[in-house]
Amino acid sequence: MINIWEVKETNTMIEQENLDVRTITLGISLLDCIDSDLEQLNKNIYNKITTVAKDLVAVGEKIENEFAIPIVNKRISVTPIALVGGAACKTLEDFATIADTLDAAAKAVGVNLIGGYSALVSKGMTKADELLIRSIPTALCRTERVCSSVNLASTKTGINMDAVRLMGEILLEVAEQSKDRDSVDCMKLVVFCNAPDDNPFMAGAFHGVTEADAVINVGVSGPGVVKTALEKVRGESFEVLCETIKKTAFKVTRVGQLVAQEASRMLNIPFGIIDLSLAPTPAIGDSVADILCEIGLEYAGAPGTTAALAMLNDQVKKGGVMASSYVGGLSGAFIPVSEDQGMIDSVQAGAITLEKLEAMTCVCSVGLDMIAIPGDTKATTISGIIADEMALGMVNQKTTAARLIPVIGKDVGDTVEFGGLFGYAPIMPVNKFSCDDFINRKGRIPAPIHSFKN
């Protein structure tokens, strides 16, 4: 039988160490909504989302109450809209009306974000894909809850450099359109290499075409819990360190598994995956960078950071995999700059650079995340940073992403406020040397040799 110390340990994790379930994300296929008539398509989309997700928020709150575990976000991901809207949308405005519909549906069911205003263009762009991408600035700037993602590369297909070039321009356009609000709309846009079909985390969540009609995916969190556990093993060997991380990750993930199963049962929607993640928030003590410091670094970014992060990420997976029946999504430690107080401190202390962050993304989940850069950064330079990140994902057969925020009117030394869970970020310097001639080449970078496994 459960004893008082075990109960106390769990409740201390929840009350003092910020243990929470970061998100329950309901993936909904919109493939059966497709219609060549735009009005009908929008009607179908609204009806499907508001029907399938009508109880999502209530069920999430019920689970929160019964287990006394916070579930920070309830969200929805949908089939990439470039696929859904292709038959009906002939103009940028046509696509933007679908964003309006998604926004309205999200508001109707009470979710804070809806992901899937997306295109998958790792090898080439259809007319619909390109239209959707070009409509992103309009769509993001006039909606509140819609998130957008574009898959630009994969290990199997290489890197679509035409799309990489286009995204550099699009990102600046999004920044320009929301310049009166510190270009915040950029945080609703992310580009990927090897984007997973079942990622529950925003802004990159979409419901892949390999998925069932509706599915529950859950993202767990708990950097604070890992940090506290590691405080107790200061000075111990790597073996002890790794065992401690694994055990802690197991416990955190089991809570996610329980929440996912309960949500699945109550909503009568199949359980998809648990995303084993250490997802930080700006709250003190909820930081991945602080774990790196606890492992033995003065600041995240110091020499040894990549090795420490690689170890952390691997142990989180090893502990988490056993705790969950299905694992997927991004799974690993997130290192967003603005959403992690420890990372912000590192940037302000001058301990971490964009290049070091890039190296860190080789060994952990996702990529260059929530990084504010000067607003006068050239589109080709942004595309160059994106291309580098895509190459890391392509060659290492992992998911990588870039969520950069060029803040119009601000420069290195300034700070930008995103509000709430998104935190704030100091603007980071970008390498000033040109990559124009590289980015302006047409076509794609071929898939790497080790992708030919047949």
Binding site: M1, I2, N3, I4, E6, V7, K8, E9, T10, N11, K62, N65, E66, F67, A68, I69, K251, R254, V255, Q257, L258, R265, M266, N268
Partner: protein, 94 residues
């Protein structure tokens, strides 16, 4: 869909004072909640109690009992929390 069976863990944490257990148990008895096990300890001067209870025959739904107990806790100056047992089982048992 309501759950069929399962136990609930009630935790009471706070400054030790006369009658904490009595007050909580009175509420439970009044609402047909059966106590299966009680353990308590004092940690760093704080009173810590855990009760395992069966709420299957409870007069009120889980959410209401949970809120009532939270209120009762506020009245006697302790924190009272109701949680379904599975969260602890899942975390501490393979």
């Amino acid at each position: 869909m309501e759950r069929v069976t399962d136990k609930t863990i009630i935790t009471v944490v706070g400054q030790d004072t006369v009658g904490i257990i009595a007050k909580v148990c009175t509420y439970l008895a009044e609402n047909q909640i059966n106590v299966l096990d009680i353990s308590q300890t004092i940690v760093q001067g704080y009173f810590n109690m855990m009760m395992i209870v069966d709420m299957n025959a409870a007069a009120k739904p889980f959410g209401d009992c949970s809120k009532d107990l939270e209120k009762l806790g506020e009245e006697i100056g302790v924190s009272i929390k109701c949680q379904r047992e599975e969260i602890f089982q899942k975390m501490h048992r393979i």
